[in-house]
Subunit: 428 residues, 2 copies
């Protein structure tokens, strides 16, 4: 007699579908809770993460050992590493999310029709959110608790490098929910590093996943956008521009460009292309270039820029379309606002673009015409961050065009329904 | 010497990509217009449609002749048919859209951060919208002009049955835009009935289509949701429920059920399943059943309903999941509110569900717990309509969970960007 064992594919499918069903049940249970229940759960999670720090650090050591063996880069090791202070920082992040105003039940609009019907547009959760992310273990806590704050159940799929750390974090979070009598399945972590599990999530787990949020590099986001059978709130690259106008204050321009490029070069809001008005390039570009070089930045200029600052490398067509995420800046001279708008319309990834000018009219034209998620006047592109917007936390910066653009915080993880109150109205 | 002619596939691709590029250019041009320009364009379109009535009616006669030859059903012929009054109705619909408040540029939120940065969330168009629909020619005008009102360029793909009518309408609309000096490519109609063109639209035309809106039967919407590589604002079926509670006013219950089911049976807001509280079924179900039968409705009941009204057919499991769009109603007895909620949670398509009761607490629990796009108290499900909501017009009723739920009007065809005004702020 032969014993049939399920193929690993079938077993994976079954596990994932079960996860989806449990997430749906948890999402419905969450919907019956009040805001104070969610806050209580979040506060308990913060306490539990602090208490579980030894277990989380031990798990992180396993991840770090494996990562070193795999020869991961220093930057990736740094993203992965936890210490006591970072674990405390993760818990503090959860405390901050607990303190956010509850986004559910908000009345977004209310009006009456002549027939006496009363209409209300009321904020409700999205439902079940699948989050697929890469190495940073803090995303496990950030994403799970941001979903909880907004009444959504989360199915988390971490990068394989952070699997032990993420499991330890999720164990603590789920235990806290359970101890509070709240649905632990509101936060689930995919237990396998099998890449087929991602495919299952993208297929929607038989209708149980409402939205996918990819958080990671371009190849991950592109795979998700290509294969997902459910809606995606995704963020492609941040190919951010700063246009220094002829009417820019010179010192502001220097400070803003250096900050936008060099504060942190690996974030999506970092500057990648500087556009400078020919009207002031002769005097201002040398100052900006010198400050950038002093800060350790490599410059690549177009022909006109290299006439003014001969030392810089040559920018090729590729440079205008490259998100360096590194201390490299492409520089082009443009003929005033219209030249800047034309360059940005062609090359911007629709993430974040900024203008530096003291001319309010020019600034307002830039703000109106540039169709990016975030447009700024006299401010650094590095403000492209949910925390800086006052959202408390974010799950990413959306560069799509539907549902949400820019930082996706608790409020952006909600949608609405219409509540219509009548007194017996029939439709003629 | 052989002359190479492009294969029809390649030619189609080229035509469709060109359409996408022209739509993008038009959408950018629309973005530079003011609200008054869009209003002027809309008013000119209404005038042009009235003026083109003879051409539109002649084109419609071609469609009707072909449809009769194909043996289309009476209902489908009726949807397709135009006469002078219907053309005037289409033009009046455009006038109504012209009179809607312009949804662009609205400041949806505004706040300052402690560092002095000023944040505004401002409504902007979605961009280029691909609309794929079936036989009613009026959708051509409704969808095209609703997109124009909201600053979006529309690529329309009509059903093959209405192709002559739709072309005549679009010719009039584009000529009106051109005469007003506005971008005619804001409204384009796919020139071929080749189904491959739909596939091209779903692929996003090389990034030039931002959103797809399917408007039609289940098979169309399912194909779109399966194949689309761009976001979809779709509407699946309207499997609407009405729960008649033990505390219902009997006469209101009779009137509401009959109206919800029988006012128009072919619309997505028509009632498909009646749930009635066991507490009142003995007395109330016979009254409701008799009124429905008098109105020409076929009834299918569960075992308990058939004990009370023995004449009705037997409802099977299939009936709870069927959108009849016909004078047929499934009826189940439920044990109070909890029974109704359990049935709806299992079977509702998340479109529209209603409760009839004089007990405000029960009503509020129903409104809070039922997670459908539209939930009503003491009102007919047939109010599920953008016009009845006061939206002026709608492109459909969304049953997805992101971006928009319920009627999709001009406001729902917008998204936002963040405009951040500073005075030189750098990020620490």
């Amino acid at each position: 007699m032969t014993v049939q064992t399920p193929s690993s594919d079938a077993a994976l499918t079954e596990t994932m579908l079960d996860m989806g069903a449990r997430a749906r049940a948890a999402s419905r249970a969450l919907g019956r809770l009040g805001p104070d229940d969610r806050t209580r759960g979040l506060k308990a999670i913060a306490v539990a993460i602090r208490a579980a720090a030894p277990a989380i650090l031990a798990a992180n050591k396993q991840d770090m050992d494996a990562a070193r063996k795999k020869g991961l880069s220093h930057a990736m090791l740094d993203r992965l590493a936890l210490d006591a202070a970072r674990v405390d920082g993760i818990a503090s992040g959860v405390d901050a999310i607990a303190d956010l105003p509850d986004p559910l039940g908000r009345e977004l609009a209310r009006w009456q029709q002549p027939n006496g019907l009363d209409f209300a547009r009321v904020a409700v959760p999205l439902g079940v959110i699948g989050i697929i992310y890469e190495s940073r273990p803090n995303v496990t806590a950030d994403a799970g608790t941001l979903c909880l704050r907004s009444g959504n159940a989360a199915i988390l799929r971490c990068g394989s490098e952070s699997t032990h750390s993420s499991h330890a974090l999720v164990d603590a979070m789920r235990a806290a929910l359970e101890a509070e009598g709240l649905p632990a399945d509101a936060i689930q972590l995919v237990g396998t590093t099998d890449r087929a599990a991602v495919g299952q999530m993208l297929s929607g787990l038989d209708g149980q996943v409402d939205v996918i949020v990819p958080r990671g590099g371009r190849s991950l986001v592109e795979r998700v956008q290509k294969d997902a059978r459910v809606p995606v709130i995704g963020h492609l690259e941040g190919l951010c521009h700063m246009y220094v106008d002829g009417a820019a204050d010179p010192q502001k321009a220097v400070d803003l460009v250096v900050n936008a490029k060099m504060r942190r070069t690996g974030v999506c809001g970092s500057l990648e292309t500087l556009l400078i008005d020919t009207a002031v390039a002769d005097t201002l570009l040398p100052r900006i270039a010198s400050a950038l070089v002093d800060a350790g930045c490599e410059l690549r200029g177009d022909a006109r820029a290299r006439v003014i600052v001969p030392g810089m490398k040559t920018a090729t067509e590729d440079d205008w379309g490259t998100e360096y995420l590194a201390p490299i800046l492409a520089i082009a001279l443009v003929d005033g606002l219209d030249g800047a708008l034309a360059h940005i319309e062609h090359w911007s990834s629709g993430h974040t673009d900024s203008i530096v000018t003291e001319d309010k009219d020019v600034a307002e034209r830039f703000l109106a015409r540039v169709d990016s998620a975030i447009v700024l006047h006299n401010a650094s592109t590095q403000f492209a961050d949910g925390g800086e917007f006052g959202f408390g936390a974010e799950i990413g910066i959306a560069t799509g065009r539907i549902h949400a653009r820019g930082p996706v915080g608790a409020e952006q993880l909600t949608i609405y329904k219409y509540v219509v109150r009548g007194t017996g109205q029939t439709r003629p």
